[in-house]
């Protein structure tokens, strides 16, 4: 009930679930109008992954690479969306 009331009060704010290198974290109060990289940065901080720049992380939803410079609302995430942050692999092969 409270959640519903809060949603009505702040329709621009949502929560996003991230899996960062396998660790689940929820970023609360994400403004739909802010770029996704703001939430990505928060998810990295919440999981203690602050040692690597954001450019070294791959942002994936439904196996699609997301451009984290776009606004959150542009992705039209469903309610139970899970966004994966994976480190980009170093150059492989021999």
């Amino acid at each position: 009930m409270k959640e519903k009331e809060e949603k009505e009060k702040q329709p621009n704010l949502i929560s996003l679930t991230f899996i960062v290198n396998g660790t689940e974290t929820i970023v609360e109060k994400v403004n739909l109008n802010q770029p996704l990289h703001v939430s990505v940065q928060k998810a990295l901080e919440q999981t203690g992954n602050t040692g690597r720049p954001i450019s070294e992380w791959q942002v994936l939803f439904n196996d699609q690479n997301l451009d984290s410079n776009k606004k959150v609302e542009e992705f039209k995430f469903p309610e139970n969306a899970v966004i994966f942050l994976s480190l980009k692999a170093g150059q492989g092969g021999i």
């Binding site: 899996i19 290198n21 396998g22 994936l60 994966f84 692999a89 492989g92 092969g93």
Partner: protein
């Protein structure tokens, strides 16, 4: 094919605790990974076994299976070997029916297959990225030590699983298959083309 096991030189108790921690982190998100087609089939220290399937395609099939070995972790990174999901025997490169694509920074038009090996069975196929034991043990990467990556994210269990997935079945969009059916000595070849 010969697989060289590492010698346990780190304190086995430390490796056991770190292995348990990696398994526990995976278990916390196991259901989410299962929905992506990544299923843990066995945990037996120092090994953990996975199958990788493509749930978004119907019929789904097991595309490959791996055994990740944590001997000597994390003085050494884990080892990744590709196995038959039913017998757990090592497989040759040509028995893993998928490429593990990475964009080649030197030549973007010629992507790299991260799973190295040959069809003769002379080389155990190995997943060639930093954070995997076989990469760091290879003579071509003698200047790229594991200790440059250790504790930075590479080499943990979920990093390896993500890298296996992201470079293969994560980018698979469809497949072709041929079913060979035999009934009363009648051979029927049925081609099925499946797209998600």
């Amino acid at each position: 094919m010969e697989y060289k096991e590492s010698l346990q030189i780190a304190d086995p108790e430390v490796t056991k605790i770190k292995f348990a921690s990696e398994v526990s982190k995976f278990n916390a998100v196991a259901e989410i990974y299962r929905s992506k087609g990544i299923i843990c089939t066995k945990v037996s220290f120092p090994d953990i076994y996975f199958i990788f399937a493509i749930p978004k395609l119907i019929p789904s099939s097991i595309v490959y299976s791996v055994r990740i070995n944590f001997t000597n972790y994390d003085v050494e990174p884990p080892s990744v070997v590709f196995i038959n999901p039913f017998t757990e025997e090592l497989v040759r490169r040509d028995q893993v029916p998928i490429a593990f694509i990475q964009v080649n920074k030197g030549n973007p038009f010629q992507p790299i297959d991260l799973l190295q090996g040959d069809g003769n069975g002379n080389i155990v196929p190995f997943y060639c990225i930093p954070g995997v034991r076989e990469f760091h043990n290879h003579s071509a990467h003698s200047g790229d030590s594991w200790f440059l990556y250790r504790t930075r994210g590479e080499g943990n269990l979920l990093f390896i699983i993500d890298q296996l997935y992201n470079h293969s079945i994560g980018i698979a969009k469809g497949y072709n298959a041929v079913l060979n059916l035999s009934e009363f000595k009648l051979q029927i070849h049925q081609e099925i083309k499946i797209k998600p």
